[in-house]
């Protein structure tokens, strides 16, 4: 009896390191996915400044306790007058880091990821394109928005779900918000948001087919160019076209199938 118990304990002990290694690999992957989802719109690791600072060597610059506190509740620290946070706000053109709902455990995993990447010299993310937008950028951005130019990754055009001023008579889809004023909301961060959207709906569509930094910059440039104009009109023609198409399609189907079998016995009586 005792022997049996011992054997099983030893087996369990032997298993433990394997589980730990497997667990940490798992965690690292989770943290990277989390970084892509939550942070990468505004930050990179070792690829340069974006909306927010490059996070390379964050562990060397700031104590972990401070960083954890900042990640889990940035607004409280900025508005609470934390000296480091106030300095950072000034350095980054007054763009406040939003509340992202990251837990303490997740924050620590993210910090570990940043430390690991910094130590190994790996990079994650791409830096913002800082050159001023040319008219060509704006033109191409509009074409990407309307779908006249395809995203390299094959992602659907913005217009499928969004409206914006200046894309033509019918404005675009009604599923997402009007993007005419998007620049006012996101400022310099818009390009990053387009590249790595942190909205669950868009992540479902774009996580496998993201827009490239160049493409995102051009779309953002276009949106910035129309930012001062009034929102696009909500034209009813687009949904009406959809309803007409559906009804027409059904009528056509019914006509093509008019010779189909419609039952015999039930029809005997009415004849």
């Amino acid at each position: 009896m005792l022997r049996h118990f011992e054997t099983r304990s030893v087996l369990k002990l032997m298993l433990l390191p394997t589980l730990l290694v497997a667990g940490s690999v798992c965690q690292a992957q989770d943290a990277e996915a989390q970084f892509r989802k939550t942070c990468m719109s505004c930050h990179t690791i070792g690829a340069g400044k974006k909306v927010g600072p490059d996070l390379k060597d964050l562990g060397k610059r700031r104590p972990h306790e401070w960083a954890t506190k900042f990640i889990t509740g940035p607004l409280a620290m900025i508005d609470g007058g934390d000296p480091t946070a106030t300095t950072l706000l000034r350095e980054n053109n007054g763009v406040k880091m939003p509340e992202l709902g990251v837990t303490v455990a997740e924050a620590q995993a993210l910090l570990k990821l940043i430390d690991d990447y910094s130590a190994q010299g790996k990079t994650l993310g791409t830096a913002a394109i800082s050159r001023p937008a040319t008219p060509e950028d704006i033109r191409r951005g509009r074409l990407y928005f309307t779908g006249d130019l395809r995203f390299k990754s094959g992602a659907p055009a913005c217009m499928s779900c969004h409206r914006a001023q200046g894309v033509g008579g019918w404005g675009g889809g009604w599923l997402g918000p009007d993007l005419t004023g998007a620049t006012a909301k996101y400022g310099a961060g818009l390009s990053g948001v387009i590249e790595n959207p942190s909205f669950p709906t868009m992540q479902g569509v774009f996580s496998k087919t993201p827009a490239s930094a160049e493409e995102a910059f051009q779309v953002a440039s276009y949106l910035k160019s129309v930012g001062s104009q009034p929102p696009a009109s909500r034209d009813v023609a687009f949904p009406v076209l959809g309803v007409v198409g559906l009804v027409g399609g059904m009528l056509l189907g019914g006509h093509l199938g008019r010779k189909r079998f419609k039952g015999v016995r039930k029809n005997l009586r009415s004849r």
């Binding site: 079998f261 016995r265 009586r269």
Partner: protein, 498 residues
């Protein structure tokens, strides 16, 4: 010449009393299962009537059988190009309503109902859903002209008659009927086989029985639509199609199929036909008026040495050829010209032939009263005064041509008159012999027809050759492989430690 053997059938409608024993025998053996409850591989219909499934003969609705297109046979249902378009939603399938929703009764209610002033009732419940149903139709709802105002009136064969004939036929006291038992025809040119996208239906080489391989069937149900006789059924429980298999396990052991064996009126005959498969294509595109002749030309004389040689070359055994020579079917169809295939215009060349009913048809009516024969010399009224117009029978058995039907009817009438002259003696013998000659019949032939019709024993009705399954098995497996084995035990080899 590509001579093949076909196990074929004759149903003598004059002897059918419409008792449905055949249907019940078949149901008990084959289709008393979940998903198959609604199938009647054998059913008996009352004619005129709409049958089962309702109006199965109306191919404008059901799109079964073959049509000629650009001088070639093509399925009416679909073409090679179109069938893929519709494969996931096939628009020509009969619904359960065209058959009927199978039902049973909730018998346990009779025992478990609480005590009340009224008798408990076993309510009808659907065998598909288990819920209460209001029964609206059954597999022989129009049996014995039940609901004739609705069902007999909608018989598709009535279209061949004039308006006057139709009114006369359908008015009360002049309405006439006969029975039409139906099974799968095991056609020589089966539309169901041609329509199957999976290649699951096949016509057996050795005896021409048409079967559905349940392992290959994918339930596309093109066979259900393509069969003009609506004798392939979809099992909604297994998701495969099923059909009459002519009780091949019985046929292989020399017994008649269950419906044949149980037939009370002894109306059913079974025998071998030798046919020339090379002629099918050419016969299939002949115009309607030549179809009966073309079909008979396909059936070859089993005594012809050239035919026998060609048959042997195709692997038809000596015993099968001998059975073909004794075949009652060959006699009824080819030698005597009495039996006719149902709806030859569907161009599938059925292997089931019917001897048309004489009795209910030929007794004539005048002013709404059935006529008794006025003179002993003429026990039947002339065919033109028949209660059921020849055009009706021509629509059912002659592809619209009255000549083959009239030939068969005349011959049967002549034989009865002659036999009455011989046994009763109240008919003038010379009149009877003249009648026989007019009907293209000798006294020897008349005697043979009389014997095979009235005095037929089991061996006369069913001439079933040995199937030699033991030889067929040798093609696939070595029968000596298991010699010396225990003979019972594991179907799968046991594996150590498993």
């Amino acid at each position: 010449m590509d001579i093949r053997s076909q196990i074929a059938m004759v149903f003598h409608l004059d002897k059918c009393i419409g008792c449905h024993t055949c249907s019940i025998a078949c149901k008990n053996v084959w289709t008393d299962r979940k998903g198959a409850d609604y199938m009647w591989w054998n059913n008996v219909e009352t004619k005129p009537g709409t049958g089962y499934p309702t109006k199965w003969e109306d191919q404008n609705e059901y799109k079964g059988g073959w049509i000629i297109k650009n001088g070639k046979l093509e399925l009416r249902l679909t073409s090679k190009g179109k069938f893929l378009q519709k494969i996931f939603y096939q628009p020509d399938l009969p619904t359960m309503d065209e058959y009927y929703e199978p039902w049973t009764y909730r018998y346990e209610d009779l025992f478990t109902a609480p005590e009340t002033d009224d008798q408990p009732t076993a309510i009808p419940i659907s065998k598909v859903t288990g819920e209460y149903i209001d029964i609206e139709a059954g597999p022989n709802w129009d049996d014995d002209l039940g609901g004739s105002a609705l069902y007999a009136r909608n018989d598709p064969n009535l279209e061949a008659m004039t308006e006057e004939q139709r009114l006369q036929l359908l008015s009360i006291e002049t309405l006439v009927m006969f029975y039409l038992p139906r099974i799968c025809n095991h056609c020589a040119n089966p539309a169901c086989v041609a329509a199957c996208p999976s290649g699951a239906i096949y016509k057996r080489g050795e005896d021409g029985i048409v079967l559905v391989n349940q392992n290959v069937c994918r339930g596309w149900r093109y066979c259900v639509s393509a069969c003009p006789y609506k004798k392939v059924f979809y099992n909604w429980s297994t998701g495969k199609s099923e059909k009459c298999l002519l009780c091949y396990p019985r046929v292989e052991t020399g017994q008649a199929p269950a419906c044949f064996h149980s037939c009370v009126g002894r109306i059913r005959y079974m025998g071998v036909l030798l046919y020339d498969a090379d002629k099918i294509q050419e016969a299939g595109v002949r115009p309607d008026e030549e179809l009966v002749t073309a079909h008979r030309e396909m059936l070859m004389d089993p005594f012809d040495p050239a035919v026998i040689e060609a048959a042997k070359k195709n692997g038809v055994t000596e015993q099968i050829i001998k059975a073909a020579q004794n075949s009652p079917v060959y006699k009824f169809v080819k030698e005597w010209g009495l039996a006719l295939a149902p709806h030859p215009e569907f161009r599938t060349f059925p292997s089931l032939f019917y001897v048309p009913a004489l009795g209910p048809v030929t007794y004539s009516v005048e002013n709404g009263v059935a006529l008794n024969p006025t003179s002993a010399d003429e026990i039947f009224a002339p065919l033109d005064q028949a209660r059921l117009p020849m055009s009706y029978l021509a629509s059912l058995f002659g592809a619209g041509q009255e000549a083959p039907v009239r030939y068969a009817m005349k011959k049967m009438m002549a034989i009865r008159t002659w036999k009455r002259a011989v046994t009763v003696g109240d008919v003038d013998m010379q009149v009877a012999l003249d009648g026989l000659r007019e009907a293209d019949c000798t006294t020897e032939q008349a005697e043979a027809i009389y014997r095979l019709t009235s005095l037929c024993n089991y061996e006369d009705r069913f001439v079933i050759p040995p199937s030699h399954r033991e030889q067929a098995v040798e093609v696939l497996t070595n029968p000596l492989e298991k010699k010396g084995a225990a003979g019972f035990g594991f179907r799968e080899q046991p594996v150590r430690g498993a």
